[in-house]
């Protein structure tokens, strides 16, 4: 008799636990990636104690700055139910404009920077315009503008690179070191963290943020609630473009050269970071903070696997598995018990 009752009780208990976990993850989408991050840090530090060295951690954070910044803009777009495949191309175009105008056309540094940021915002505006006015799907629009921005960048720069020595100080300012205790960060890293704070505040604490989420969640419901969804979408694309411009600035400081060969994998990497960070590709769900964890996870795997002395192809493999697990988790979370 008891043998029959006990298992069912246990089953119910584990079901309860699963349901509670599901609810918690549903409410705080950043918890999942945060725990994966903590777990992977622990595992990699056990494999190789040098992983937790101040030097290694500092390098890791410096390396992640550009991708994480790009992923902020990507998160905002994915939250609206869209996707941006032109992320890297937009950043490269902004980067080439900054570097070229300053180095070759004698434009003063600050103005060159503003020009580059404006170009970033303009790429976002073009994407947003095509999505909201011409009513094309974001995937197609940004697939097209990926090629367009890339070719304009190549044509504009003639494929030539601009080196840090030829650039005004302000453009390479983002590469300046900032020492915090034993850790060595850069102003670019701090700029990235500030951007995360600002984006997180805007998305979670302002009406605009609510409108972004609701537009991605159910555009028709948002419209019927009196939200001008097209205006919200356009603002998201422009803001994201501007952020890609900032990422270009951080990139120049990080690698010390403006080249069209930079950021070749940025489009998919940024999407990977967003997805691992727990933001749903279907829109309306997720948090920009999760994206920070997502980008860090990718970087931790890269650093940890190389320190473990394992071939780097396993890092790519691990990334792929993480993406699929993250999406599967998202699907599960969305199936909330009624």
């Amino acid at each position: 008799m008891t043998a029959v009752i006990e298992p069912t009780g246990e089953v119910r208990e584990s079901e309860e636990l699963a349901a509670r976990l599901q609810h918690t993850l549903h409410r705080h989408p950043a918890i999942g990636p945060a725990s994966v991050l903590v777990a992977s840090v622990i595992v990699f530090s056990l494999i190789n104690h040098r992983f937790l060295n101040a030097t290694n951690l500092s390098l890791l954070v410096q390396q992640v700055a550009v991708l994480a910044t790009l992923a902020i803009g990507q998160t905002m777009i994915i939250l609206t139910g869209g996707i941006d495949l032109s992320v890297g191309a937009a950043a490269i175009l902004a980067q080439m404009v900054m570097a070229q105008t300053a180095a070759n056309n004698g434009v003063p540094g600050p103005l060159a920077l503003l020009l580059g940021l404006a170009v970033g915002a303009l790429t976002g505006f073009l994407n947003g315009f095509l999505v909201t006015r011409i009513k094309l799907p974001p995937f197609i629009v940004t697939l097209g503008t990926l090629s367009i921005f890339t070719s304009i960048g190549l044509k504009y720069s003639n494929g030539a690179s601009v080196y840090a020595t030829a650039m005004p100080k302000i453009l390479i300012w983002t590469g300046n070191y900032v020492n915090i205790g034993p850790y060595q960060l850069t102003t670019g890293v701090i700029l990235m963290l500030v951007l995360f704070a600002v984006a997180s505040f805007a998305l979670t604490r302002t009406a605009w943020g609510r409108h972004v989420y609701s537009t991605g969640d159910d555009p028709e419901a948002a419209r019927l609630s009196g939200i001008k969804t097209n205006r919200v979408l356009l603002s998201v694309y422009v803001a994201a473009g501007l952020i890609f411009g900032v990422a270009a600035w951080i990139l120049i400081g990080r690698v010390g050269v403006a080249s069209t060969n930079n950021l070749t994998t940025a489009n998919l990497d940024s999407i990977t970071a967003v997805v691992i960070g727990g933001t749903s590709l279907f829109g309306g769900r997720g948090a920009v903070l999760g994206t920070l964890f997502g980008a860090l996870i990718v970087q931790v795997f890269q650093s940890g696997i190389s320190l473990a002395g394992v071939q780097s192809l396993y890092q790519v493999l691990a990334e792929g598995i993480l993406v699929i697990v993250a999406v599967a988790l998202d699907q599960w979370i969305r199936k909330v018990r009624r």
Partner: protein, 312 residues
């Protein structure tokens, strides 16, 4: 059920004729809306009086949706006028209608499932924090909105929903509907329009929504209810506007006509004139409500006459 009938009987018989006196809160005159060659509305009139529940019934394609879309600003009629408290109004968008105090719960509910209850109640009209946090940084008064949302829901007797931070998609169908209705009720200062609010709900949940409608009426807020469900319409409505083929086939009351008659008028099997003649003696509602129903039936048929007059 029997207590409900008694209660409404007493209300209908109360002096002052609460339903049909005074200026209509919302009135439509000769609304015409065509879509190419298709006539959506062929000159429809409608009057909604303070504190009544007016049901709109009709077959598919009868123009119910077109009618309420015109009233809620989602469509602009080609001809005819809409008056609120006797003053002509023009709605170019749902936002205009909302500013005028008309809140609509669309069939699709128009809630954002991934947002919490408080965010949904205030979606599109968020409250900002006081001071520079709100004015400079545009920060929302999240706590204030949650508290106010809770108050609104309790006010409407929806005590089962306690946690305002719960995402709407975790709610049951009835609770979701309650949130949508609560939003309309909370902000609809003049009129609440509900499009098929119980279509996707079970019996118990439907009952909750109907109770909510009655509570809105109790607070003096007139409600327009579009529904296919005859028993529900007859349970909750004060008057029933029947749409047929883009025109108003007349207005009846649950006391003057039976469900079968209503369906017959709706499908064109009988016309209201004939039906009204047959039913001049109120054999429909049994018990002590007879005399009341007869009286109510008499002056309501009159009103139905004027309405259908406008329509044809």
């Amino acid at each position: 059920m029997s207590t409900e009938v008694d209660a409404s009987g007493v209300q209908a018989g109360s002096p002052g004729g609460r339903v049909l006196s005074g200026t209509p809160t919302l009135e439509a005159r000769g609304l015409v809306k065509t879509f190419g060659h298709v006539v959506g509305l062929g000159g429809v009139g409608l009057k909604l009086y303070p504190g009544e529940v007016l049901a709109i019934i009709g077959d598919n394609g009868a123009g119910k949706s077109t009618l309420i879309k015109c009233l809620s600003g989602a469509l602009t009629p080609d001809e005819g006028e809409i008056l609120m408290d006797g003053v002509k109004v023009e709605f170019k968008s749902p936002v205009d209608a909302r500013h005028a105090g008309i809140e609509t719960v669309f069939q699709t509910l128009a809630v954002a499932p991934a947002l919490d209850i408080a965010s949904n109640l205030y979606l599109g009209r968020e409250i900002r924090s006081k001071g520079p946090l709100g004015s400079v940084f545009r920060m929302l008064d999240t706590r204030g909105m949650r508290a106010a949302a809770k108050e609104r829901l309790q006010d409407l007797g929806i005590g089962t929903i306690q946690d305002m931070t719960q995402k709407v998609e975790t709610l049951s169908g009835g609770q979701r509907q309650a949130v949508a209705v609560a939003r309309a009720a909370a902000f609809g200062s003049k009129v609440v329009i509900l499009d098929e609010p119980t279509a996707a709900l079970g019996v118990r949940e439907s009952g909750q929504v109907l109770a909510l409608i009655k509570r809105l009426r109790g607070r003096g807020l007139p409600v327009i209810l579009i529904s296919h469900n005859m028993p529900q319409v007859f349970e909750v409505a004060d008057r029933i506007h029947i749409q047929r083929l883009g025109r108003s086939a007349g207005v009846i009351t649950p006391h003057s006509h039976t469900m079968e008659e209503a369906v017959a008028i709706m499908t064109g099997a009988t016309t209201l004139g004939g039906a009204a003649d047959d039913k001049s003696s109120p054999a429909t509602s049994g018990g002590g409500g007879n005399a009341e129903a007869g009286r109510a039936g008499a002056d309501r048929t009159e009103s139905a006459g004027t309405d259908s007059g406008t329509a044809s």
